[in-house]
């Protein structure tokens, strides 16, 4: 297991190197940092001097190495717009996005598992047909449409929920602005998290259902029935554990994608997270911040997937042994 984990972590580092390289290449070829830094009145000689001082005349690899060296220490460059370190800007915005994703992941996990399994073991029941039917609608509805519909029904017509922003937040650990601890914050969280989960949830229900149905047909499940076990045990221990294997793999990738895909939801609900920050930084051609965002999201993606691979190893004994060798 240890060797397996080490192998996965080394792979993760490789992936991060590639991501940072692409990110840096974008920054390197995207506009002139000197022009962004100084005004119109600076003479070409002064510009050349600044260029030399900032090391912008060095070869690509040297600059990239310098960027990496800084990035490892948490310095992802300066945001031109905020005039602050990009990592600081991102960390300020990250809690909003992460809380949103966490909440959606929570909704997805706690609804897709029971619904998917129910639809798999009782495919003939009307409720299963209803689940499957509505999941098709869910998958095909774009997030922004779902979000606008939610706002229309629950904020405009019924006045039950606030339509934008994060509401009241509480600062925890000194820097994390959390909306999870106040009632107002939670109210603000409901609609965005539903909107964000609206595509993944039906997807997961369908995935769990089809995997579960396949597993239920397998010999070992038939054997479990032949052993005279109670249905609950056959479904939850014998079938569900095997269903989990592919679901975990897909789930890890999807969780990463969700972090990146908050952009739409955050825009509709004016949620002050990394997604809306990224859109703004594109509008302001704040390349440093864009690259920092890219690297940061890449990091989350890689972290989640490495964690998922290790969890997968814990669930699947075959993998565990392969790693032990």
């Amino acid at each position: 297991m240890f060797a397996f984990a080490v192998k996965r972590i080394l792979q993760a580092i490789m992936v991060m190197l590639i991501i940072s390289c692409i990110g840096f290449a974008i920054k390197h070829n995207f506009g002139d940092p000197v022009r962004d830094l100084v005004g119109q009145r600076v003479t070409p000689t002064e510009r050349a001097e600044i260029r030399e001082r900032l090391g912008l005349n060095d070869p690509f690899m040297v600059q990239y190495a310098r960027f990496l060296g800084d990035a490892v220490q948490g310095d992802l460059g300066q945001s031109y717009f905020f005039k602050k370190p990009a990592s600081e800007v991102i960390l300020k915005k990250a809690p909003a996005t992460l809380e949103l994703v966490l909440c959606s992941a929570f909704i997805i996990t706690f609804l897709s598992v029971p619904l998917g399994i129910y639809a798999a073991i009782k495919p003939q029941k009307w409720f299963s047909r209803f689940i499957m039917g509505s999941s098709i609608i869910g998958v095909s509805m774009p997030v922004f449409l779902t979000a606008i519909l939610l706002i229309y029904v629950f904020a405009v017509e019924l006045h039950w929920l606030p339509s934008y922003g994060r509401g009241k937040t509480v600062c925890i650990f000194g820097w994390w602005d959390s909306g999870l601890l106040t009632l107002d914050g939670l109210k603000h969280l409901i609609m965005p998290s539903i909107a964000l989960s609206s595509i993944m949830l039906p997807l997961f229900i369908r995935l769990i259902r089809s995997e579960m149905m396949e597993v239920l047909e397998s010999e070992y499940v038939k054997y479990a029935w032949a052993k005279g076990l109670k249905p609950r045990r056959v479904w939850w221990v014998h079938a569900f554990k095997n269903t989990l294997l592919p679901v975990i793999t897909v789930g890890g990738v999807q969780l990463g994608i969700m972090v990146a895909f908050t952009i739409l939801t955050e825009t509709v609900f004016q949620w002050q997270g990394m997604g809306s920050m990224f859109i703004e930084s594109v509008e302001r051609s704040d390349t440093s911040l864009m690259v920092a965002y890219l690297v940061f999201v890449g990091l989350i993606f890689v972290l989640v997937n490495t964690a998922v691979d290790i969890i997968y190893g814990l669930v699947n004994p075959t993998i565990r042994v392969a790693g032990r060798k």
Binding site: E219, W225, K227, G228, R233, K241
Partner: protein
Amino acid sequence: METLIDIKNLRVDFALRSGTVRAVRDVSLSINKGERLGIVGESGAGKSVLGFSIINLISKPGKITDGEIIFKGHDISKYSYDQMRKIRGNRISMIFQDPMMTLNPVLTIGTQMMETVLAHMDVSKKEAEKICLEKLTKVYIPSPEKRLSQYPHEFSGGMRQRIVIAISLLTSPNLIIADEPTTALDVTIQAEIMDLLLELCKTENMGLILITHDLAVVSEVTQRIAVLYAGKVVELGLSEQIINNPQHPYTQGLIQALPQMAGGKKRLNQIPGMMPSLLDMPKGCPFEPRCTICIERCKQEIPILKELESGTQVACFMRNGANKR
């Protein structure tokens, strides 16, 4: 001799869109306590369906549509799900064909054994573990204590089938249904497993239904043989009689087809033609289209089992004297 299980006019149908498949048609068999019966026939003859129908575990849409299965004085074919569950794996256990597929890959051997004990016996976990170890010793698994925490993929095919046999022994059942238990194993292991099964049936005084297409295996292990063709028993009698003096032309064909009967010829003997589709049965004897000794009557009427002087029952007009009316 006390009767253990008495199958009377059993009929199993599969209602498909293209029509009703009669997989088992009017099969009557009875097994005495501690007796070993072989069920022989080619693929698709309904052997496995017959085996599974005894514990009412036929794959959908298969259903017992007629007949009785009397076990310990009760017709278990009419049992409710929960009543049946208490018989499965408890009084009647099954051994499946492919040990690679039978055991759940993500659960330890210990879990898969213990759950069977705990599902049927009112014992503590400690006692259950003791039973598991005892049965593992019985099937000659070396150092059983260590095995309980291992996963199926850590065992060879032969070892896994031993474990499956151990699982089937856990609750000291009255009957074991073994559905081609050696087909998926290589030849040297086959003999070992069959010997083990035979030995255990004798020492534990268990009944055995051995479903196989291997006549050589069945003659060594079982006392009686039922030959199944297109869902019907065409010949039933003592193993010795059936092997040495087969009556039904189909049984004769099967025995002629054994490699040792080819007698130096380059090609093995075979029965010409194919088994009729279960959707489209001939009106008369199902074997008539392939039969070399058939008469006009065979096309019109279905022969029923009649006992010969030797004690063998055979369903053939040419053999049971019914044509000499």
